[in-house]
Assembly symmetry: C2
DNA sequence: ACATGCGTGTTACTTGTGGTAACACCGAGT
DNA sequence: ACTCGGTGTTACCACAAGTAACACGCATGT
């Protein structure tokens, strides 16, 4: 039968694809974002053209790879965001989840943020969308949660999106810096960021004798 | 005389270096961060080895190039941060300055954020410091201003650094997203981000009938 | 006047990486 | 037996980073 054969082959192709992705995963975990197609093929025990048949080009492979991790991370974040606790606790749990993830597997996180930026695209000005898809997806996700649950008046939708991307960026940049310098324990970073979101910057007093801020 | 000769040559070398940087600038402005050394050399009317003699390697050229723009942008930001106005106005002015800059020359900004990520470094784990130097410098700069002027109690230094990097990341990610989608005028984005920093997220009420946030 | 450097420039090469074409094998259906 | 679709290979191309090795101009010391 055509259909059973088709599904059989498709099933085996899918399994192969997953195996290849796992091999690629190991290489990226070891070599970071500059893992070469040759290295990935070697790790998988095959040669380049097979990779290209499965994923089209490097961008395709990287996209497939990124999607897995992105989905996994987003699931964790959603769980933290949906926990039964008050707002502040949930914000802190979300921050902590993200930071734990990047702390546990920095190479993967690095890869997710830096998707090789190939795709010099068609013509000079493809400005925008250069940012990592993970950041965008996290931003949109957070925007949705905020927009759904908070009463922000008219333009609430818009405001929620700005905040979603802004908060994600804050989390990302602070996490990146923290991971490099390790200036404090994770819990302290989480607390400081939550304080920032809770308006402590605006509420803080000027230093006595200073020029004010 | 040895010294006058030295200075003469040095002067001419410096001029040449500046010319090369300007040529590189034009190419990057046109081609974005994936500008090739060949293209830059051609634009400057010379060939590759000269570039390599002047800048060592691609990273060196890019670093020199980035430093110019980074310095310029940081000067603008400092000016906005030091303007004679109240805190909120200055925060908004700073945000607006940054957003204007990336809006005016997206290719340059893109290049600054994505310094080619070469430098696969020595050994697998050079985690951290992968982020663009511009972001780090802006973060440190802002941290210094905050730490200098705000009374944040003990650990104020630490808190200021976290906030500096966090705010810069917020600005960056939101700006990046905004530049790609242009969902609203710049002024509105600035206002929304300032609202976020002013704690409107924490203060907002839950939507009626929703699960709360 | 002549040789010695030294900075500027070149051509031509090596190495590595993304990507592809052409061919070989193998198992299932007609 | 014979084709067909999928898996795999070797061998290649294009192109970018980076590096010799060599050639010219020009001030200087003898």
């Amino acid at each position: 039968m055509n259909t059973t054969q088709r599904t059989d082959q498709q099933r085996s192709a899918d399994r192969r694809r997953r195996e290849l992705l796992e091999a690629a995963d190991r290489v990226v975990l070891r070599d970071g974002p500059q893992a070469s197609m040759n290295a990935i093929a070697a790790e998988a025990g095959i040669t380049k053209p097979i990779l290209y048949r499965h994923f089209g080009d490097k961008g395709g492979l990287y996209a497939a790879l990124a999607e897995r991790h992105t989905d996994a991370l987003l699931d964790s974040l959603r769980a933290a965001l949906d926990a039964p606790a008050d707002r502040r606790e949930r914000v802190e749990a979300t921050l902590d989840t993200y930071l734990s993830a990047i702390e546990a597997r920095p190479q993967v996180y690095r890869f997710l943020m830096h998707p090789a930026e190939e795709s010099q695209s068609d013509q000079g000005f493809d400005v925008g969308k250069h940012s990592a898809p993970l950041l965008r997806r996290m931003g949109e996700e957070l925007a949705q949660v905020i927009g759904e649950r908070l009463d922000l008046g008219p333009d609430g939708r818009q405001l929620a999106r700005v905040w979603g991307h802004g908060i994600v960026g804050m989390m990302h940049a602070a996490g990146d810096w923290w991971l490099g310098e390790r200036p404090c324990p994770r819990a302290e970073l989480v607390h400081s960021l939550a304080d920032l979101l809770w308006g402590r910057l605006a509420a803080a007093g000027d230093k006595v004798g200073g020029p004010g801020f």
